[in-house]
């Protein structure tokens, strides 16, 4: 009992300390997702917290341009995993992402990245056709990317899917031969994953639409000059 009595104020104090500083009076922030690492400070001060970042990737988009974490650094981006011939959840998933994309179609502060989990079939031409058919004409705004043609390309993209908190694997029983779930990941300008959303749930898609501007405001605070220039 007495421990519990102690715990609440201690926790509150810890949270307050974590939030204090220049941004203490700012609007609510999105959490940083993933395992975090606490490293003791060799000089005896407070320990450093190392927050998880999205996995490193190297891919090529429908315009044939490379897309990596560096390409997207400094901006927010949203990821999903799909394949062009997917008769299952993909139309609904990418239809939902299209509704998130539309108000930001010409906004350079946020990018969209859809990874194919069927790199053997989804060539750049197939990805380009898919993008055009969806109504996405500017590859720099919404990248439909492949991890390439090598024998390991598929394993690479499955690993990436896991890193972005979604699941993808071959499954003969699933429609189209691949089982995957439709999780959107929202990544910030520093590569931290800040939100995960089930694309098949309209409430979750609405939550993404609400939280994206919150993240953009946070990024703008970090880069006041970039914002002023726009």
């Amino acid at each position: 009992m007495s421990i519990r009595f102690w715990l609440a104020p201690a926790l509150a104090a810890a949270l307050l300390t974590a939030c204090s500083g220049p941004s203490a009076d700012q609007a609510a922030r999105l959490p940083i997702l993933g395992e975090r690492d606490v490293r003791p400070n060799p000089n005896g001060g407070p320990a450093d917290t190392i927050f998880a970042t999205a996995p490193a990737f190297k891919a090529v988009d429908q315009a044939g341009k490379p897309v990596t974490n560096q390409t997207l650094a400094g901006r927010a981006y949203i990821t999903d995993f799909f394949f062009a011939t997917c008769p299952g959840i993909c139309p609904k998933m990418n239809g939902a992402l299209l509704s998130v994309f539309k108000p930001y179609a010409t906004d350079p502060r946020v990018a969209f990245v859809s990874f194919t989990i069927d790199p053997a079939h989804d060539s750049l031409a197939v990805l380009d056709d898919y993008a055009q058919r969806l109504g996405v004409t500017n590859a720099a705004r919404w990248h439909f990317v492949t991890t390439g043609h090598s024998a390991t390309a598929r394993d690479t993209v499955y690993g990436l899917a896991k890193g972005f908190f979604t699941a993808a694997q071959p499954d003969k029983e699933a429609p189209g031969g691949f089982a995957h779930n439709g999780t959107f990941a929202l990544v910030d300008d520093q590569g931290h994953i800040r939100g995960l959303y089930d694309s098949l749930d309209a409430n979750e898609v609405a939550r993404l639409q609400k939280e994206l501007p919150v993240l953009l405001a946070e990024i703008a605070e970090r880069h006041p000059q970039a914002t002023a220039a726009q």
Partner: protein
């Protein structure tokens, strides 16, 4: 007296609760099947998705291929298809609900729903008509 009133009231409540169970719920079966098997890709209002997924609302394909539709739903379809002058090329899996293929009766309700919503108008189908059209569908196992 009060007891009898209460008893009657309770009976009324029981009757109200159990009556809907006595009626067939098939009146909205087409809409329910559409929501479960079709709306994910074709949209809540049959609007389709860009040039990836053809619309059902106002689709000329429905009238042009009326007799083939039960088979198309039962078996799925793939390859190029022109709807309202736009060429689509996707895979449509067979319409299934709860991992079961749809009976002729359910296909009838589903097609009647699709063909008479979102601006679509077509003569109502009968189960017999759908059954007949299914027999012309190759390799259909019940």
């Amino acid at each position: 007296m009060i007891g009898r009133c209460l008893g009657l009231g309770a009976l009324g409540v029981v009757a109200c609760l159990s009556l809907p169970g006595c009626f067939s719920n098939n009146r909205h079966q087409g809409a329910r099947l559409y929501a479960e098997a079709c709306a994910g890709c074709h949209g809540d209002a049959g609007q389709g998705l860009g040039r990836l997924i053809p619309p059902l609302a106002g689709a000329d394909y429905l009238a042009l291929h009326r007799a083939e539709l039960p088979c198309l739903l039962r078996r799925g379809v793939h390859g190029p298809m022109t709807v309202n002058g736009v060429l689509y090329n996707q895979v449509m899996p067979a319409a299934r609900v709860d991992d079961k293929q749809l009976s002729p009766a359910r296909l009838t309700n589903l097609l009647n729903y699709i063909e008479n919503n979102w601006g679509n108008h077509a003569a109502p189908r009968t189960i017999q008509e759908v059954e007949r059209q299914l027999t012309a569908c190759p390799n259909v196992g019940e």
